[in-house]
Structure formats: structure tokens, C-alpha cells
Point group: D3
């Protein structure tokens, strides 16, 4: 598989050989598993301490046990990232969502307008909350948590939805400022 020769990031991207050991190892592991190195790893490697914190946070939210399935967590990323106009996050997490959900259509549907996507009403309520956290968190209150509860989301699920929406809101801003380029590979992954 070849990658286009466009710039990965507006900022300098270090060579693998020049990266701290732990970061190089994480990147090589990802490359072995995926067949390519997602550009978010190369972009953030410019700042090793931020790289470590970013992926520790990412894993704490996205890899742990949760009342939300992994596909549902990716839906949150995709829906909020498109509203933030983050090309990297929509394309990369769209691929992951297609794979996690084993559904080639869902990522584009959720990205553009989740209200019309082939998902459950409970998942739409989850995304309503995620989008409110992303766009007007100041107005979140008891009534929002009651709606989640009526869809059988626990208090811990509410935290998870909010934290994923908030974390990727940060990620969206970083990707837009760095002009982080989605790898060509993501576009077709999981399209069946």
C-alpha cells in the first residue's frame, strides 16, 4: 500500500529513528497491526510528552470496558468531529467505526446527519448528548442526564459519552491547527 506524498502535518515530523524508544515502539506496534502508521502518531511525535498523555487518555476512554460498545464510542467521535469540520478525525474514525460496527454505510451516515442514520433511538439519544457536550456544554444539566437514564444509560455511561466528546473536541482542534492529513488507507477501510 502506498501513501500519497502530501505533508503529514504543518509542523515538523520526526524520523522514527529519532523518536524516544517508547514512542517508536508504540508506533511500530500500530504499524504492524494496521499495515500503516496513522498520521496522528507521526504528528504528535513532534511533542513526546503530549504524545504520551494524548494516547494514554485516548486508551483510557476508547479501549477500556464500558457500557458503550466500541462502535458506539466511534459514533460519538465521528458525529462530533464532522460538526467541528475535522477531516482527519472523520476519515480515520469513520474507518474504525465501519470496522467496529461491521457496517460499511454507518460512518458516512453518522458523520453527515446522525438523526437519519441506521442506528437505534438509544444511540441517537447518546449522540444528542455528545453533540450538546461538544457545542454547548455550559447548558448541560439534570434534564439531559434524565433523558440518558430513560434510555438506560447509567451515570458512568454519561461520563463516558461526555469525556469522549470532550477529548475528541480537543483532538479536532489539534488536527485542524496542524493540518493533520488523514492517511489514504483510511478512506476505503471497512467499506466491504
Amino acid at each position: 500500500m502506498t501513501t500519497s506524498d502530501h505533508k503529514v502535518s504543518r509542523f515538523p515530523v520526526p524520523d522514527l529513528a529519532d523518536m524516544p524508544e517508547d514512542i517508536r515502539e508504540r508506533i511500530l506496534a500500530v504499524q504492524e497491526k494496521s499495515g500503516f502508521i496513522p498520521n496522528v502518531f507521526l504528528t504528535l511525535a513532534h511533542r513526546p510528552d503530549e504524545f504520551r498523555a494524548f494516547f494514554a487518555y485516548h486508551d483510557a476512554l476508547m479501549e477500556k470496558e464500558s457500557g458503550l460498545t466500541k462502535a458506539e464510542r466511534e459514533m460519538i467521535v465521528v458525529a462530533t468531529s464532522n460538526l467541528n469540520q475535522c477531516q482527519y478525525c472523520v476519515v480515520a474514525h469513520g474507518a474504525i467505526l465501519r470496522i467496529r460496527a461491521k457496517n460499511p454505510l454507518i460512518a458516512d451516515q453518522v458523520a453527515v446527519n446522525y438523526r437519519k442514520a441506521d442506528i437505534t433511538d438509544r444511540q441517537k439519544a447518546m449522540l444528542d448528548f455528545a453533540v450538546k457536550v461538544s457545542q454547548s456544554a455550559y447548558a448541560v444539566g439534570d434534564a439531559d442526564l434524565e433523558i440518558l437514564k430513560s434510555h438506560d444509560f447509567s451515570e458512568e455511561d454519561a461520563w463516558d459519552i461526555a469525556a469522549i466528546s470532550a477529548f475528541f473536541g480537543m483532538s479536532n482542534r489539534l488536527a485542524n491547527v496542524t493540518s493533520m492529513r488523514p492517511n489514504d488507507e483510511f478512506y476505503t477501510l471497512g467499506r466491504g
Copy 2:
């Protein structure tokens, strides 16, 4: 190729056999060419007079000779439709854009954030104008047309950009209200 059994539209969709002759013929011609019937044809067939005017307008803008290439015209549709959160238009015209541009990446790039897409600066200026027409046409003035001119767009090109942005703004609203469903086929077309 099979199509999922979700509803095409929130409103009634007539059988081909019950449609007026001219509409049925247009639809059959599209089906022969594309291998499937895009749902916008079925949805609007509920209103034959509106169907005829819609596609006459569409063709007048999208099929004619123009200073804009057909791929550029599709870029306008895709960029403005995502800001309007129109699932049908982003998915269907994203497919057409990939085909017209012979580029499997461009549609997702332009949809999410055209400022980061693999397109020329001239095309970005075209999309800046198209988005301004879509979101704040009341503020369009001489200065906007001067910018277009500085990128070698003629006055007639300016009309074309504005008219395509305006026409698909209408289409986006119709698709959202009717819950028009993008055909499954569109998602993978042109992904190479």
C-alpha cells in the same frame, strides 16, 4: 447489487407503473445508465410537476457548458451540503465527485473541510464563495466578486457557483425534510 429495505422517503413513493410517462422514462434511463435508481428520483416523483422543474433546473446548472468543470460543480454541492448536514446530497454527490474527478479521496476531504482538501487555491476560492452564498448570501458584495476575478473566474462563473450553491441549498432542505435515503450503491462508487 441489492438495496437495503429502509424507507426511501418519509412521504409516499409511487410505483414506476403509476408515474406519468415522461417521469418513468427519465427514471428508466437513469437506471439503465447507473444500474440503480437514485432515491431522489423516487422521492420527488411523488410530485410530478416539482420533479420536472427540479431536474430541469438541475440539468441547466450541472449538465451545461460552463467555465467550471463538472468535478468543480460537484465540489460545490459536496462542501455546502455537508454544512447543511444533508446525508443524501453528501453521499450521492460525493460518489459523483469521485467519479468526475477520478479521485477516490477528494469527496470526503471536500465534505469535511475543503480548506484541507487536495484541490487548487483557485478551487478553494470557489468554495469560499459557494459557502458564503449558502450561509450568508445577504453579505455577498463587490469584494467577493473581485476575489473570484483575481482567481480568473468570470462573471458567468460567479453566477454558476452561486446558482449551484443556492439550488442545492434547496435540495438539502427537501432531502432533510423528506428523510431522503441515499442508495447503498453510492457509498462505494468511485472509491477505486
Copy 3:
């Protein structure tokens, strides 16, 4: 009646003599009926195919039998066009609304704030929906259609409201980009 000598459109306006026969005939018929040629006809005549599609669409929505009265359809145009800051549409359709409703006050009321206009609660619900289609169609859903139903609007009426709002949203954008000038005659028509 004389018309001021300001420009009709930012774009070229053809002479009647140079227009295609069908377009000239339509324009002469309007002139005979109204006593003047509304500038939208002259502005769009610069693009004959678009002219034909535009007025075919217009007539399909505004002239046909409908659950909405002609005055109600004009209310939709006036309320949404003012939010889009479209001078031509507010002034021209304000005149038509005054005439259709035989009410010299209603157009200015509906344009500025329909919530305070001398119209029925049912008409206010119609305009709530029309404005939502105009400004945030992506969020339209079942709940909106239920509200319409509770005011005795049929499913077909909902389509009509949405289609008129969407069509004039296109028209508003064209008028703002072309700087289409409202004819002087419209300002006083129907003021009784």
C-alpha cells in the same frame, strides 16, 4: 407608472427583443396583468434555461391547488425571506401577500416578527415550521410533523410548507448575489 433608473441586476439583462420567444411571451403576459415587469423576470432572463425551470418550479408550488391558501403561501415567503435578508423577496412578495390576504398590514408584520402578526395560531405553527426548514432543516423530525398535524395540517401540507421555504431560500440567495432590485411599484401595492 415609472420605474427608477437604478440597475435591475448586477448581471447583464437582455432586451425583450433578444429573448427566446417563450420567455418574452411569459414576460409580456405578466406585464399586461401587472402593469410592469417584475425584475426577477428580467434578471433571470439572462439564463433562459434557469428562467424556465425557476418559474416552472415557482408555479408548481405557488399556483397549484393546495391545503394552504395563496395568502398563507406568501406568508411563508415573506417570513423566511426577511430572515435571509432578501430585499427583493420581502418587498415583492410582501405586495402579493397584502393583495392575496386583502390586508394592508400583514406583510410588514409577518416580515419582521410573525409571532406578533395578526394571523391565527395555526398560521404561526406553519411559519414556525417554515422557518425551521429555512434555518435548520437538518434537525427537522417526527416531532415537527406531529405539531403540524395537531394544527390540522396534512402530510401534503407539510411538504408544501417545506418546499416553499426551500425554493424561496434558493431564490433569496440568487436575489442577494445578483443584487436584484425590487421594482418601485411593489412598495405601495395592496396598501389600500
Copy 4:
């Protein structure tokens, strides 16, 4: 001339006979001059101290000598009030603007989109500033005042524009909350 029997205000409106002497006298003077009592006087008479302060402020801005003509001051009121969707202010001050400017078209043009009105570029710059004060005063800075200066507005003129925009922003909010009804007489005044 008769006035329609709709409510003047959502709040109680006192009888002339029950008003404090100074307020009644002001109202009778207005009635003698205009031929009717504008409803803003009746609505605010419910609160005599606020009435006195409101009209003292109004007169300090609108009746004094100023680098702005009286017609220009009314343009500010009309343009900002329509963006605030204030029916009373657009209709009443639209009438005053037509009279002050001796121009039957100008009020509707300025209300809907002053960028397309038959006014000078200097007046458009004045309204750009007035609208910025109305909608995002927090961002007003030296650059805005420089633009005014380049159009030969003095520092005192800048204060006048800002104060009129701010005062009528208050008035717009009061009119919307009280549902203050524009008198029927205003609609046709100055239409020639």
C-alpha cells in the same frame, strides 16, 4: 383615521386621565402633532419613571444637533431593529425614515438589507458600524473607528451612531417583551 382593536401591549395600559400630568401633556402634544398616539407612549406610561427616562434619552439622541442627519439616525434604528426582529420599531421608525428622507422606498430597503439600499457608501459604512455595535459590540475597536473616520465621520458621530444603536437595542427588547403593537397609521405614512 381609525385604529384596529388589537391590544396595544401585553401589560396594562393606563387611561390618559389616570396618567401623571407631565406624561399626559407629552402624549397630548404628540397626538396633536401626529393625529394619533403612537403605542410606545401608551405602553411605557404603565411605568411613569421609565417613560420619562426613556423619552429623555430618546430626545437626547434623536432630536439634538448632530453630524448625522435625522434621516440617517432613523436609518440606524430601522436597520438594527429588523435584525432584532422588532415589529414596532421597524414599522414606526420606517414611517419616520420615509418622512425624514422624503423617500417612500428607503425604509423597506434599509430594513431588509441596507447593503442594497439607495443610500451612499458613507451611509452604508455608518450602518455597518451600527450593526456591529448591535450584534457584537465586544469586538468593536480602533479599526472600526478608523473606517468611520475614513468616511468623514467624527469621533462625536461615532458616539452618536453607537448610542442610537444601543438605545434602540434596548427599545427593541422592551417592544418584543411587551408585544407592543405598531399603530395602523404608521404603515402608510410617507409612502407618497
Copy 5:
């Protein structure tokens, strides 16, 4: 107590000796009571008639008997002024709120997000209404007044809330355009 030597206002500030007698007296009285002259007095003294009307209006709303306590009235000022990004009003009225409420924390809480402040649900409903008047008065209607009534606010209280929100919306715009500087003394007043 010393005041920093930054400019009080972008516009000229008259000497006390040059002010009209009534204005100088009002200012000296405030100085005697507070220990310093709040800059709003100096800034507005540039325009004596506007000064008189402004403070007459201010006193009519803020000093009179009302169903709202003086602390509640200051809450309205602080919450709406921060949304309008008015430094003078948040700092000065924050001080007054701390003093009136005998609570050193409340002003910062209400300024940044009143939904999270140590105030009653009734006071939060009051601020919901005040903020709606400040930001979208055009949409205020019967339903808003019903909510206030359900919290035991009278019709006169509703007027008071709206008028305070509207008056300080004007004040916020004037302070932002004049770059009115909050006196250093305000920052620590009432912090206990």
C-alpha cells in the same frame, strides 16, 4: 485609595469643574458614598443630557421598590453583561452584587455560568428569562411568562427582569464602544 492611570474612556472626559452643576453634584455624592468615582459617571458626563437620562433610567429600575431584591437585580446585570463581554459592567456590578448579597462568591459564579451558581431555582428561572431577553427577545412569548409565573414571579416582576436586561444590554454596548475602564476599586469590593 489610588486609581491606575489608564484611560477612563476612549472619548474625552470632562473635568469635574467643567460639568453642569447637577451632574457634578451627583458625582460628588457618589464619590462621598463610595470613596471613588465610578468611571461610568465620568465617561457619560461627556454627554450631559444622555448622562441625566441614563441615570434616571438606571435609578427607575435599580433603586425602586420591586418584587425583585436588589441583589437579584444585580444578578441580572452580571449574567447578561458577561454574555455581552462587557468588562466594566461585570466588574462593577459584580462588586455591587457581592455587597448586596453579602456573598463573596456569587458574582463570579453568576457571571461565568449562573446555572452552576449558589442561587435558588427561582433565581435561575429569573436569569433564564433575562438571558433570553438579552439574546433572543424576538422569541419571547406567553410560554416564557408562564414559566416565570410558575416560580411566583408576577407580571410586574417580568417587566422588571426584561427592562433591567434590556437597559444593561444598552449599557454593555456603550461601555464596549467607549472602552470604559472599570475602576480598580471594584475588583476587591465585597470579597470579604
Copy 6:
């Protein structure tokens, strides 16, 4: 020093004794240094892995060597957090800003409207960029980085500004959803 008995967070807050060793130690160290435990530590301790990542990220941005002074970094937090209406972040980081800048006025000034604060033009340019990242990162481009460069900010400084704005945008959302309460101690710290 006593802390009010309001809830620290909407979610469960663990006892110090029940926390993982490393988290308890960090918290005790903060308490020893500050004299109290900032509530963000208690709130996030509910999720140990997220706690660790959050503070690792925080320290990577706020404690490291940088072209931005520590006071400047706090300005970014305070300005963006008020626009996000985050009570905890404005109050807590306002205190830190006052201390870092040795200036008792600066935090309230920067929070409400940094354009009017006693800071340098260079610092205002820094905050213009930080606010753009916070509110419309999708539109950040070369022109923004050129402006920073013209104020002698390096490319690395640009990353720092963006990353701090993005990180605290996440923090603002978490604080609003958890209803994280600012400790009473923050309100008066650094007020001199």
C-alpha cells in the same frame, strides 16, 4: 481555611484513603503546597486512568519550558474558558493568573473581554488566535500563523497556544458536565 459544603461534582468523589497510591500522593503534594485540594483533583480521581492522563497532559503544556510565560498560558485558559462558560476554569485559573502575573486585576479583565485588558498587543494577538482555535479551529490557516509570526511568536509557540486552547476546551466541557465546583479559596487568591 474552610470549604463550603456544596457538592464537589455531580459524580461520586472517592475518599483519599480509597484512591490509588500515585493519585493520593499527587493530591497530598498539591494540598501541602496550596493549603487545599483543588476540586478538579477530587472530581477526576473518580476515574484514575483519566486522572493520570489529564494531569500528564496538563503538565506537559503548562509546566514545561515554553516561549510563552506561565502567566501568558493562564491568560489563554481564562479567556477561552469564559467563552465556554466554565465556572471552575475561570475561577481557578483566574487565581493562578493573578499570582503568575502578580496583577490582581488581570484575570477578571481577560476573562470578560481580553481586548480591553491591561496586556500587550502581542498578548492580544495570542488570545485572538487562542479564541479562534477554541471557537472555529476549522478555519485556522496560514494567515493566522503569519499574524502570530509578525508578533514574534515562533511556530512552536503557535503549537503551544493551540494545544492549551484545545486542552482546556476539553477541560471546560468536563467541568460543565460534572458540575465541578470551584473551591472557595480560589476566589480571593492573588487579589493582593
